[in-house]
Symmetry: C2
Subunit: 275 residues, 2 copies
Amino acid sequence: MTRKEIIELIGNKKSFLCIGLDTDPNKIPKHLLNEQDPVFQFNKAIIDATHDLAIAYKPNFAFYESRGVHGWESLTRTIQYLKSFNVFTIADAKRGDIGNTSQQYARAMFDEKSTGMDFDAVTVAPYMGEDSVKPFLSYPGKWIIVLALTSNKGAFDFQFFQGEEHKLFEQVLCRSKNWGTIENMMYVVGATQANMLADIRKIVPDHFLLVPGIGAQGGSLREVAKYGLTKDCGLIVNSSRGIIYASSGEDFAEKARAEALKTQKEMEEILSSIS
Amino acid sequence: MTRKEIIELIGNKKSFLCIGLDTDPNKIPKHLLNEQDPVFQFNKAIIDATHDLAIAYKPNFAFYESRGVHGWESLTRTIQYLKSFNVFTIADAKRGDIGNTSQQYARAMFDEKSTGMDFDAVTVAPYMGEDSVKPFLSYPGKWIIVLALTSNKGAFDFQFFQGEEHKLFEQVLCRSKNWGTIENMMYVVGATQANMLADIRKIVPDHFLLVPGIGAQGGSLREVAKYGLTKDCGLIVNSSRGIIYASSGEDFAEKARAEALKTQKEMEEILSSIS
């Protein structure tokens, strides 16, 4: 999916919402557990109920890997199902390894013939540097989303490590932004660090930012928009638990839609300031 | 596996060799391709031919994920097969995410009931800080192996980022070494950076180091031992391509054994200096 198509999607849906599919079999409604693939059935119901309100979906790989082979089956079914909707799909896998290994990870996420999975984007960790992320950029039309400033407490351990001119996360932005372009690279910036977005926009004024941490993690959408919004929107804001676990009853999909709609309405208002 | 057991294993086998199972279906001998699971059959033959010479095996997850569900099946079979030998098993997955997500990754690697996989150790990326690696430490008897200084060119992009007192990789060592103990934490230090090992030993004198980069990547075993060896050995040195792809013919396992034996003999000589 091209940058232009993402911007059109945001304009058409009046939304920059990404729904995180952190689907935990212990948290999904009990009545689904009789299904053959309860996790996929849950995801399908969430997607059916929200795809007009969300521009992106982000399965979190850990929640699938923790069920081994069966989890990968649910994940594969989910990405295949997502492909029938006009949405941007993000493999939240946070991979990164030496070049020849990252090539294999890129194939895992992007090469439908090899794995049945054909995501539009993958999250990658920057610690191992350029050759660890470049192989993902060799797939035309695909995106990498590099971890810059994350939404967790541990972000303070190393991401704020102070160099002569910059903190580490700023160094990651400064150096990596030339590895690709604004047409194939985004950054993860946690909503819990919204006040840092003003400084981040000085380094990457035009890149799209994937912003987790709204909802369960405590980030504020208004704050994120205040500091991070660009003329093209430039933001994809993720909510996972706050939407997908809005209810644990048979009305889970309906309640998820109600939560997504609430967020979409807030986003519509925010977007009206740039249209 | 405890630290004491690892040290005994090294003493008994007179080896600190880890064999990296970076098994690529495009590189394994053609005659195996008729098998039901060629990748597992390849791994099995390599393990059968080398388990008395190697103390550890390290499947590289990327090479399995790039085959999707089928790759995870091969991976699961491989770890289950490894469990019948007295070897230390490392999930080379380089994971790391916020706390509740890392819990799921830990389950994926360590909880046999959930996934059929029961590795002794997992490699983790430090960028997201303490809460991204701590969940792995809640499994008694399991290890995390934190990326410190990697063997690739991209290591120079951020790992050498200079702070007031330290470079980033030194900061990772200084701060993270208190998250666990020498009984449940190791570090990745690339053999291509062997000369850095002397300084690294000043920060982590007793931790085991997992050292990739011997062989195809150009690192020298002698150099690594010169700077990194401790009275308990303190090193697990990995070789992947140099051993497993020693031959592409029907004699691949035999040739892999010959390569492993060559390395083990060199290690035996090195170990004699501390016994």
